[in-house]
């Protein structure tokens, strides 16, 4: 899982909508353009939510993968 080298990892496991989206938006503000955030979440809505969020904000959704019930979302901050 190291290929994106996230600058920050945000653990939202166990948190429900809208917290993964809200905390992701806050965490992305701390990053520099080009840096990657890894979001870990268990909310079943996280996949469509993060697709909509990235599309709306212009940040790049690199990948969403699910491992043992946890979604790992990799997002690259827009430049």
């Amino acid at each position: 899982m190291g290929e994106y080298e996230p600058a920050s990892v945000l653990d939202c496991e166990g948190l429900q909508c809208p917290l993964p989206v809200v905390k992701t938006a806050q965490a992305m503000r701390q990053l520099e353009p080009g840096q990657v955030l890894e979001l870990k979440a268990t909310d079943p809505g996280v996949e469509p939510d993060m697709k909509a969020w990235a599309s709306r904000t212009g940040n790049e959704l690199l990948e969403i993968r699910q491992e043992q019930g946890v979604y790992h979302v990799f997002i690259k901050k827009a430049g």
Partner: protein
Amino acid sequence: MASVAWDPEEGGKVLYVQTHGVADPGRSATPFFLAASAAAMECQVAIYFTMYGPQLLQRDVVDKIGPKGDRGQPLSYFIKQATDLGVRLYVCQPSLDLNDLTIEQLIDGVEMIGGAAFNDLAMTADAVISF
């Protein structure tokens, strides 16, 4: 009264309308959830409280009710989540009168608008979502 128009330079604009009050706690928090999500999407977001909606903003109510009663977070938690992201809260005078409330009884940060300002916000929003 200050202008309440949307900033034309900034992203999407979403206006929520909350008409339910303390009699139906299950309907109290969702507009705040959705508003927080929209604000996190870099949209401008406002919630307009009319009919019984202003009841939800009373200082001495926000910590006492919640969408799941005693089994979850109080309404104040969801309000803060939204306002921390810049969601604006509006009421109008006739709705305060309907509920025998004054603006002083409401939490800080609630702004007073009238029907014309509300209609202008609605006509210039990208979406208006009413509860």
